[in-house]
């Protein structure tokens, strides 16, 4: 892979998007181009996965000076942790495109492509400013896609999410700049490359605390952690299917990724010191959002809460400071992305057919659309964490890790088995199975494309639950590397 394959993966969608914008191509042509792009990227990613060496260190490095005056570099690379998220993205997006196939306009597809660029760029960046570039750049197409194709009070929610998340990322920007300046004062040259930044030693404790807070706010808003979650509800309920799909299944995970990629190596001591708080915040969020989801009548809002609750659990996992928890978190990122993404796609179809309906106004769908129901059930069981799906493996590992971190926390975190099950199955009963005499005659069952799109997700969910080990072995060296070399925890 001596040619910059990562750059290609990043910029191919953007290139396609802009050329589509300029060329006089209709919605269909744009869609086909987008789908083709997604497939090509999937192939490229498979090449990356195939050539990925079994080690915890950065691979496929690309490093160029960009703005040399201030040592801003164009520097890419991936390790095991980013690799799995990359695989996730590459797998999810084509499926999503198959689902969004009909009735979308040109702008929709262009935005999707741009979002893809933003996501992958964020995932690969090894330079803080570059990361910030993509991190913010990711927001614009999201802003566009929600605002242009969303429903309900979409303009309000777009402004809200934008201002809210930009606020967070601006605090992160301040921290980044501060780090750069600190590096300059210590080494006499400008650089924002992660490898350089981690060498800073001169920061006092107070400074570190502030910078840590700056980073964590940005990521906590993106994830979102309690209490930064209020943007989530409107956004998820007002977004179009594609937008909410990407938001929930990938972008939220990038917040977690950011914590692991940047906060952990830059502030290892604080990371260890504050781990207990974040473990408990995560568990609290898990329970809080889980309970909140119970009585939601809008399915999308319920899923918003449920994914918030799972993300709290993921955060718990990455802060458990042991291999079980972190591996479990990495695994739950995949599991939850697939399940929630699939669920949002299915719900999107339901809305597309029936219009937006509250849960009590639904029901009896299982009769109309059996295949739909089957897939819905599989995703739901994954969310619930049923053994045999990858949901169980990840949740089990996280609980294990949390228990290793502190037994009490472990016992509390085991509640996830109960919470998710209660609201999910209740929703399943009211919305899908039971026939409440509502008119759902408009509901159509999945067509061939949709089945093809959903199969990979369903298959992976089950395969990763039945034979998880095969999917683990490329992550684990990275996690070991984090713990041993970065956090310097040898006896966990």
């Amino acid at each position: 892979m001596d040619f910059g394959i990562l750059s290609v993966i990043i910029f191919l969608p953007m290139f396609v998007a802009f050329s589509m914008l300029i060329l006089p191509v209709g919605a269909k042509g744009t869609r086909n181009a987008a789908f083709l792009t997604a497939i090509i990227i999937f192939i490229l990613v498979c090449m990356v996965y195939y050539n990925f060496q079994l080690s915890g260190y950065m691979q496929f490095r690309e490093h160029h000076r960009w703005i040399s005056t201030y040592g801003i570099n164009y520097s890419l690379g991936i390790d095991g942790f980013s690799l799995i998220i990359l695989m996730l993205i590459a797998t999810l997006i084509p499926s999503a495109y198959l689902w969004l196939w009909d009735g979308r306009t040109k702008g929709y597809w262009v935005s999707m492509l741009l979002i893809q660029t933003g996501i992958t760029g964020t995932l690969f960046s090894q330079d803080l400013i570059l990361f910030y570039f993509f991190w913010e750049g990711m927001l614009l197409p999201v802003f566009m896609i929600i605002g242009m194709f969303g429903t309900g009070n979409r303009v309000f929610s777009t402004i809200k999410i934008t201002v809210y998340t930009i606020m967070g990322s601006l605090f992160m920007l301040i921290s980044i700049l501060y780090l750069g300046v600190a590096f300059f004062y210590e080494f006499g040259s400008w650089s924002f490359a992660l490898n350089d930044i981690v060498q800073i030693t001169t920061l006092s404790r107070t400074e570190e605390l502030w910078l840590f807070a700056g980073f964590m706010i940005a990521f906590a808003i993106k994830i979102p952690l309690f209490p930064f979650h209020t943007w989530l509800l409107e956004t998820y309920s007002n977004s179009p299917t594609g937008g909410v799909f990407l938001l929930s299944s990938i972008m939220a995970k990038l917040g977690v990724y950011g914590i692991v990629r940047f906060v952990m190596p830059i502030f290892p001591d604080l990371y260890k010191e504050f781990a207990p708080y974040f473990v408990w915040i995560g568990i609290f969020g898990l329970i809080y959002f889980g309970i909140a989801a119970l009585m939601q009548t809008n399915i999308k809002k319920m899923f918003a809460y449920s994914s918030a609750s799972h993300l709290g659990f993921i955060v718990t996992g990455i802060f458990t400071l042991n291999v079980y928890g972190m591996t479990g978190a990495a695994f739950l990122i995949i599991a939850h992305a697939m399940a929630t993404g699939g669920l949002f796609l299915l719900v999107g179809k339901m809305e597309y057919n029936l219009g937006i309906k509250a849960i009590p106004a639904l029901g009896g769908i299982a009769k109309k659309a059996p295949v739909f129901t089957v897939f819905f059930g599989i995703m739901l069981l994954c969310i619930v964490g049923l053994p045999g799906t990858n949901g169980f493996v990840s949740e089990f590992l996280i609980i294990l890790g949390t228990f290793g971190f502190s037994p009490s926390a472990g016992v509390v975190s085991a509640l996830t088995v109960l919470i998710a099950a209660s609201f999910m199955f209740w929703m399943f009963q009211r919305a899908i199975l039971a026939d409440n005499g509502n008119d759902v005659s408009q509901m159509k069952d999945l067509n061939f494309k949709e089945i093809v799109g959903m199969l990979p997700l369903a298959f992976l969910i089950i395969a990763m639950g039945v034979y998880p080990d095969w999917f683990f072995y490329k992550i684990e060296p990275t996690i070991q590397h984090y713990l041993v070399d970065i956090l310097e925890i040898r006896n966990y």
Partner: protein, 628 residues
């Protein structure tokens, strides 16, 4: 060595279920596939598994061999490996045998019962999947693999209970079952994780766990044991998690037979027996188990005396029989418990099938007081039911007698007289409500002669006969020594036998007599009250027993409602009115202050000049302060 066949015991039903599921989808979406295909596929798998299990059984006779087969590495994190491993020792093979056997019979029965159902293929898909999970549960070589089967049966029972999903009630019943089981699973998971940290330092399969148990602080073991038992409670419907079992009758009758008679509910008992090495070290927890079992038995029996729905009566009787089993395993008589599981599987399955037959005959009428006089109409069913009833009441020489007798013997000989007393009392009640059912349904006069009966197909009758035969003879494999028999079950499950108990024969005979007496008393009372019961007067039931001690209401009131209230409070009060208020309040505050400040922009030149003057004077004063 043909250990890999162990995997196939599980794999065959699994594969066939997958095939069935896909075929079903295919048949509803594309072309209709005739039922016979589903029938063949669905029925073949349990018997194939039975064959394989039997082959292992034969290999095991006479030796203490344990068959292990590690299919693949399931999970390996941080050098800690968990294998997808199968283990066949005498206990699990014993379970496998009767699960596949009874399960197979129930499959046959179902093929008749569900004949007219649209979702025929789906039904067998669930059934085979359930069977696969159950077999995985008993054949697993480590708790976590066991847990996969454990949850698998849970979700299958969910699907089967809410099989007629158009009706909200059924789905609710399914939810109830699943959630209640989940509460148990919570305990199971916690126990597993604690075990991984404290016990399973070198390997997580039972053998290593047993080895590791020895040098672990007792309080940890107590914690593990209790947590595990919570799981057992959930699965086996004991106090306080039994509420799902009666509602679970919403499913089709074969489901009730399969789940609540033969297999799923006994998983808890099996699990305790499987962890005997743990519970041997913590007798106090064992005692608690025994007491929970005893009280559940009594409680369920009391409720059953006042029920009118035939399946609900059977459900409660199941619960109370499970109580017996827990008495046994709690007091260390694991083999005895398993023996009762075994016999109970036969007669309870028989009871359910008989009830199902009656229900079908009466066009899905379930209230016993609307039945009556079935004796003449369905003689075979009647005799089958009679045998089963005799068996469950514990009249010798029927199956139930021996196992129940041994349980009470265990209780008595281990000095727990209270438990023993409860057991005997329960025995009386059991006899009472079972014969009440029998008399009302089959002897009671009914005035609906005119009603045309639905025919009961051969495929439903045949298993009845087989099981009736089983209910008669099943006990004989466990005839205690004093009756000149050699306790086959005991010797087979030797490692699970509580050798410490021993009472001299005279006592033992007395106890036996007491049991028989109890059964007779119960039967007699039932005879007095209900023989030739006149259906004209349908008894008006009310009162606390009829209301099942208001347990459902209490749970609903104090747990479900509260949680819902909290949920509404959180999602509609806290989030919207508090947290979001802060967020949006900030922006509104900005705008408000913007409006306030913009008063300065009044387009008055003189005012602007004045503003400048103020600014200048402030700056100048600052300068003066600086310069001195």
């Amino acid at each position: 060595m043909n250990n890999f066949l162990l995997a196939w015991i599980v794999l065959i039903p699994l594969l066939s279920s997958m095939t069935l599921g896909l075929m079903y989808l295919f048949s509803i979406k594309v072309i209709k596939i005739p039922n016979i295909v589903f029938t063949v596929l669905g029925l073949s798998s349990p018997f194939l598994s039975f064959m394989i299990g039997f082959s292992f059984f034969l290999q095991m006779i006479g030796n203490h061999e344990i068959f292990l087969y590690k299919a693949y590495r399931w999970l390996s994190v941080d050098g800690y490996d968990i294998d997808m491993g199968f283990m066949a020792d005498k206990l699990s093979i014993f379970m496998v045998l009767f699960i596949t056997f009874v399960g197979g019979l129930i499959h046959i029965y179902a093929s008749g019962y569900m004949k007219t159902d649209k979702g025929y293929g789906k039904f067998f898909f669930y059934f085979n999947l359930f069977l696969a999970s159950m077999l995985l549960l008993v054949l697993a070589d480590s708790p976590i693999i066991m847990f996969i089967g454990w949850e698998g049966v849970g979700v299958c029972s969910y699907f089967l209970i809410s099989y007629y999903y158009e009706d909200t009630k059924n789905v609710q019943a399914g939810n109830k079952a699943f959630i209640a089981n989940r509460v148990g699973d919570l305990g199971f998971i916690i126990a597993m994780i604690t075990m991984i940290y404290y016990v399973g330092s070198n390997g997580f399969d039972y053998i290593n766990l047993e080895a590791g148990m020895q040098n672990v602080p007792i309080n940890v073991l107590t914690f593990i044991g209790s947590a595990l038992f919570v799981g057992a409670i959930g699965k086996s419907a004991q106090i306080p998690l039994f509420v799902w079992l009666p509602d679970a009758m919403a499913g089709p009758t074969p489901v009730s037979a399969l789940i609540h008679a033969a297999t799923m509910v006994t998983a808890g008992v099996y699990m305790v027996a499987r962890f005997h090495f743990l519970y041997d070290l913590i007798p106090n927890v064992g005692l608690i188990i025994a007491y929970v079992g005893a009280f559940s038995a009594l409680f369920a029996a009391i409720i059953a005396t006042k029920q009118t729905d035939i399946k609900k009566i059977l459900a409660y009787s199941t619960m109370s029989q499970l109580g017996y089993m827990f008495i046994a395993v709690g007091l260390g008589g694991y083999s005895v418990g398993i023996f009762h599981v075994f016999t109970h599987a036969f007669f309870k399955a028989l009871l359910f099938m008989g009830a199902g037959a009656v229900i079908v005959a009466l066009h899905h009428e379930q209230n016993i007081f609307k039945m009556g006089g079935m004796r003449s109409k369905t003689p075979i069913v009647y005799f089958a039911m009679l045998i089963a009833t005799l068996a469950i009441t514990g009249i010798p020489p029927f199956a139930g007698f021996f196992s129940k007798d041994e349980i009470l013997l265990t209780a008595f000989s281990s000095g727990e007289y209270l438990i023993w007393g409860i057991g005997v009392l329960t025995a009386i009640l059991t006899a009472y409500y079972m014969f009440r059912l029998l008399f009302v349904v089959f002897h009671g006069k009914n005035y609906q002669e005119s009603r045309k009966l639905h025919t009961i197909s051969k495929s439903m009758i045949m298993p009845l006969i087989v099981l009736a035969f089983g209910s008669i003879v099943a006990g004989f494999i466990g005839i205690p020594e004093i009756l000149g028999g050699n306790n086959l079950v005991g010797s087979w499950l030797n490692d699970w036998k509580n050798s410490s108990l021993h009472v001299e024969h005279s006592r033992e005979f007395i106890l036996m007599g007491i049991n028989i007496l109890a059964a007779v008393i119960g039967t007699y009372v039932a005879y007095k009250k209900f023989f030739n019961y006149d259906m004209a007067i349908v008894p008006k039931y009310n009162g606390i027993i009829w209301k099942k001690f208001y347990i459902d209401e209490i749970y609903d009131r104090f747990i479900v409602k509260k949680v819902k209230e909290v949920s509404i409070f959180i999602s509609y009060k806290v989030d919207v009115n508090f947290i979001d208020m802060i967020v949006m309040g900030l922006s509104r505050g900005f705008i408000k202050s913007g409006h306030f400040i913009s008063k300065v922009q009044n387009a008055n030149t003189r005012f602007y000049a004045f503003f400048m003057l103020v600014g200048i004077s402030v700056i100048s004063t600052y300068l003066i302060m600086v310069m001195r």
